[in-house]
């Protein structure tokens, strides 16, 4: 974007190539080669996977990592497409909004691994006998772990675009297309990039789980880090697990440097708050791309075509009246609401009928029992993690020096797929013969506890120094200080972190409540284990039952616990 502006800048200096060009060319060409390499054998028949079975040779790991990364990238592109269409539709049409937003809320609470087991057959059928079908299924699984919160963030941004900007665009008669790209997308960008990062973190977790797809008799192992680690578990090879963890660390670091740093630095200009003084985030990749003359020259034609697309005559749409709907036609609204209700009831009826065709009522009750066990587990773990990380987070956040070191580390740990560490933990549980009902539980929160930590750190850093000074000045110390100054100050941030951690833990329960190490199989009681078992047996009635119960629990907990807490935090403790 900046380069586009630069090409029409006031004094178009004639520049020769510079050192940034070399760097930029390397980056761009490297990216192209990577794409070509990694996507090479997508159209191979499935049998080719058996012909070259996965091996634990560490030399194969870079190749596996490339494949895994490509899957992530594809899913991210899909998620963006979904975000731009779904969220825009929801924000533009009042009637669509009525359905789309609650639907998004429910989709968010469906366990990601549930999507895989239900949809893998469909995707395999899309490209029968080809690797591509399995890739579709894996990418779709990652997509389901990324898309919802991005769409939510975009929808919320669209709803909060300042009215004056919209009015200005109407005055200048922007077409809807131009308004979308010149106002709405830029305005939504900072929040969207942040949510993309969060999605990516979640995505790493599930890409590992989605590569070794096995539903009943259909077992497909796609080349990637996930299947590498699955093989390592089956062969009880701790060294290979170590190699995989090391590779993953590097992959995430590279991803961060090459993709997210530049994105964050780039999105910074779209912040709407017009304050100065905060040091903007920087990225060497973005600097290289921006300063490169080559990139500027090559991107200029594309930018021109892009601008040309804005030229479409603005259709003479009636202006959107903010606030009132003079011709709302209430009976049409009622008809629409009734249609939606009937369809929802019909869907509920079909789901119930499908489940009860294969499952007895008493088992439905026991599924609810398992869900309660998992719920207790999640809540206890969140409480424990809070007890540990809130005090630490506050201490760290109040010391800028410490925060600078710990904050990126916490964010990194949140992005790291904790399931890579499961084998290490499971081998220990097997070795020491520990009770799986207790000791498998921490795995659920292994990857998600960091959300609590880094949010609390952010909250403590944001605590105005004046408030801290007042505390010191009045001699407020000890428990009183925690109760009246520190905890209320970080509360809104803590709630945000805890919500994310809770959602992630429910998702992780499917992987964490059942663990294997070679021939050893550990199983805890809970809904996650129930779904995992049903998936192995390809028992779709039970899979659907498990997913439905888990979604129901997550939705209810969100409504009954997290949302009220969030609003309370917003109303009472938000500073300024």
């Amino acid at each position: 974007m900046s380069d586009r502006m630069r090409s029409i800048s006031v004094r178009p200096a004639v520049r020769v190539l510079n050192r940034w060009d070399l760097l930029a060319a390397l980056l761009v060409l490297g990216g192209l080669v990577f794409l070509a390499e990694a996507s090479r054998d997508l159209t191979q028949p499935l049998a080719s996977l058996d012909a070259s079975p996965a091996s634990l040779d560490p030399a194969r790991l870079p190749w596996y990592a490339a494949r895994t990364t490509l899957r992530m990238l594809a899913a991210m592109v899909l998620s963006l497409l979904f975000t731009f269409t779904y969220a825009t539709w929801a924000a533009r049409s009042r009637r669509a909004e009525l359905v789309l937003v609650p639907l998004l809320d429910i989709l968010q609470s469906v366990p990601v691994l549930g999507f895989i087991s239900v949809t893998v057959v469909f995707f395999m059928a899309l490209a029968p006998g080809r690797v591509l079908g399995a890739e579709f299924a894996a990418v779709f699984a990652i997509f389901t772990s990324q898309a919802w919160n991005m769409a939510f963030s975009f929808y919320q941004s669209l709803r909060t675009v300042p009215a004056e900007l919209i009015e200005a665009s109407q005055c200048f008669r922007f077409s809807a297309w131009m308004r979308f790209w010149r106002i709405e997308v830029p305005f939504a960008m900072p929040a969207l990039v942040w949510n993309m990062m969060m999605s990516m973190s979640g995505g790493w977790f599930f890409v590992v789980a989605a590569e070794a797809i096995s539903v009943g008799h259909t077992t497909v192992t796609l080349p990637g880090i996930g299947s590498y680690i699955a093989l390592a578990i089956a062969r009880r090879d701790l060294a290979a697990v170590g190699w995989a963890i090391g590779t993953m660390l590097i992959v995430i670091l590279v991803y961060d440097q090459l993709l997210f740093r530049p994105l964050v630095a780039w999105a910074d200009r779209f912040r709407f708050e017009q304050e100065l003084g905060v040091t903007p985030p920087r990225s060497w990749v973005l600097t290289a791309l921006r300063r490169s003359v080559l990139v500027a020259r090559l991107s200029a034609p594309a930018a021109a075509v892009w601008r040309l697309s804005f030229r479409r005559r603005a259709p003479r749409v009636a202006p959107t009246d903010s606030g009132d709907h003079p011709v709302a036609r209430p009976w049409l609204d009622r008809l629409w609401a009734a249609t939606v209700l009937v369809l929802a009831a019909l869907a509920l009826w079909r789901i119930a009928a499908f489940i009860l065709a294969g499952v007895s009522l008493s088992e439905v009750a026991s599924a609810f029992g398992s869900a309660t066990v998992t719920m207790v587990r999640v809540l206890v773990l969140i409480a424990l993690a809070s007890l540990v990380w809130v005090p630490i987070g506050v201490r760290v956040g109040l010391s800028p020096r410490l925060a600078r070191i710990v904050q990126p580390a916490a964010q990194f740990l949140a992005a790291f797929p904790a399931n890579l560490l499961f084998p290490v933990a499971v081998s220990a549980i097997v070795a020491f013969r520990l009770n799986p009902d207790i000791w498998l539980s921490p795995l659920m929160i292994l990857g998600t506890q960091w959300y609590i930590l880094f949010n609390v750190i952010a909250g403590a850093s944001a605590l105005p120094s004046e408030l801290r000074d007042v505390g010191t000045n009045l001699g407020v110390g000890g428990w009183l200080w925690w109760r009246k100054v520190a905890l209320p100050g970080v509360f809104p941030y803590y709630v945000t972190g805890a919500i994310t951690a809770s959602g992630g833990s429910w998702n992780a329960s499917i992987v964490a409540e059942v663990a294997t190490w070679g021939d050893h199989r550990l199983e805890a009681h809970g809904l996650g284990a129930y779904i995992a078992r049903a998936t192995e047996a390809a028992d779709f009635h039970r899979i659907v039952l498990g997913i439905a119960v888990m979604s129901l629990f997550v939705v209810i907990i969100n409504r009954a616990l997290w949302r009220p807490l969030y609003w309370r935090a917003e109303r009472k403790f938000r500073l300024g």
Binding site: S9, C171, F172, R313, A318, P319, S322, P326
Partner: protein
């Protein structure tokens, strides 16, 4: 000069539908005709619908009834020859100054060289040379509004609409911008034919406009039209200038209650629950009374004089003055404000007595406060939820106005210790924590 007016507004009325199906009138019976070479001011207090009228003219909203025609053709949406300058600038923070100015031309689909040439010319004209590659966040408020002007002028509109364009700026900057604009306008350098300026600043209106339409509040109606024939540049200290300002003050203070009396009786100071109230801080109420009581005013003052002495915009001053009037601490007539006997006591006594006096007047003259107190007294538990009163208010006004009105009464009720309110539980009660 063209026989057809640039813009004609005829019998325009704008109403919002309330939840109970009745309607809330914002603008009523507005007539306006704009000819080439004129700057017309729409002057009124907040809630007088003058910004709403501007948005109707801009095609951003539609009138409930009546017609607006531009060059003889009805306005059904944003028209090509009408551009707008916004109160909050409405710049795109992610675009440079140049790109912000160019964007209107890009939307028109002009070829790139022309877009660039015209944008640079507009930037040059408005005095933004050298700032082309700056981002709005790097600019001061005055520079930002200059970008707003350049962006509107670059499309060469026939009519320039200005929605309180100087009200977000400090006094000095606003004055500079006004003068620069008037200079360019006077020299015929601006590519526009007429201007409509919305403002609540009386001096600004007299300084800039050839014709001023004065609006009443609730609903907005034109209650006066004042032609300004003074030559430019105008001098604020010129007696003719002062006289015009004084006349507008009188129009604003005298006509507003009269119009409201005709519309609905409860708008008469403090006589009905449905009165919209502005959240005026009790510090301001006490401050204005004390100022009036002290020298040089000794209990009575000319509104324009006290407004300029206190550096208050007419809108802010009126809110304070009218609240005092509602509480019967002052009387307002013909542009003058005078302390009543109670008002003199209110200004002079100790804090405790002041609170007692305030409580008595609040519960006597502000119907909503009395109502809340009565409900609390009658209930066994002495508590009542906020929603109870909000629902009642929403029969008379929009939900936004209801929130604001209730907020105002909460503030006064707390100061008077007439009742307590817990925002977290959203409950009114009689108990103050001892």
């Amino acid at each position: 000069m063209n026989a057809v007016p640039l813009l004609e507004v005829h019998g325009v009325r704008r109403a919002f539908a309330k939840p109970d199906g009745s309607e809330l009138l914002v603008l009523d019976g507005v007539e306006l005709s704009l000819r080439e070479g004129q700057i017309v001011g729409l002057l009124g207090r907040s809630g007088s619908g003058k910004s709403t009228l501007l948005r109707l003219i801009a095609g951003l909203a539609r009138p409930t009834s009546g017609q607006i025609s531009y060059l003889g053709r009805p306005v059904n949406g944003p028209a090509a020859g009408i551009a707008m300058v916004f109160q909050g600038f409405a710049l795109f923070p992610w675009l440079t100054v140049l790109a912000n100015v160019q964007i209107g031309l890009e939307a028109l689909g002009l070829p790139e060289p022309e877009v660039r040439r015209r944008a640079l010319a507009a930037i040059d004209l408005i005095g933004l040379d050298g700032f082309e590659s700056a981002y709005p966040r790097e600019l001061s408020g005055g520079m930002r509004q200059r970008v707003g002007f350049a962006r509107a002028l670059v499309v060469h509109p026939n009519i320039l609409l200005m929605d309180e364009p100087f009200s977000a700026l400090d006094v000095l900057t606003a004055e500079t911008l006004r003068n620069d604009f008037l200079d360019l306008w006077g020299e015929g350098q601006l590519p526009i034919k007429a201007v409509i300026l919305v403002t609540h600043n009386i001096e600004e209106a007299v300084l800039m406009c050839d014709r001023i339409l004065v609006f009443s509040t609730n609903p907005g109606r034109i209650v006066g039209e004042i032609a300004v024939d003074l030559p430019h540049p105008r001098d604020r200290l010129d007696p003719a200038f002062r006289e015009l300002v004084e006349r507008i003050y009188v129009t604003l203070t005298a006509r507003a209650p009269a119009a409201a009396r005709a519309a609905r009786s409860e708008h008469f100071p403090g006589s009905g629950i449905g009165t919209m109230l502005a959240p005026v801080s009790t510090n301001l109420l006490a401050g204005l009374s004390e100022t009036l009581a002290g020298p040089p005013y000794d209990g009575a003052a000319d509104l324009p004089a006290i407004a300029s002495a206190l550096h208050m915009e007419v809108d802010d001053l009126f809110h304070v003055a009218e609240t005092l009037q509602m509480l019967r601490f002052v009387e307002i007539e013909g542009g003058d404000i005078r302390l009543t006997e109670a008002g003199k006591r209110f200004a002079a006594t100790s804090l405790d007595e002041r609170k007692t006096l305030f409580q008595r007047h609040l519960l006597t003259y502000v119907a909503l406060a009395a109502h809340i107190r009565r409900v609390l007294d009658e209930r066994e538990s002495h508590v009542a939820p906020k929603s109870r009163f909000l629902d009642e208010l929403e029969d008379h006004m929009t939900s936004q106005a209801a929130e604001q009105t209730l907020g105002a009464v909460v503030g006064w009720g707390r100061y008077a210790e007439a009742f307590a309110y817990d925002d977290h539980r959203q409950m009114f009660s009689l108990e103050n924590p001892a």
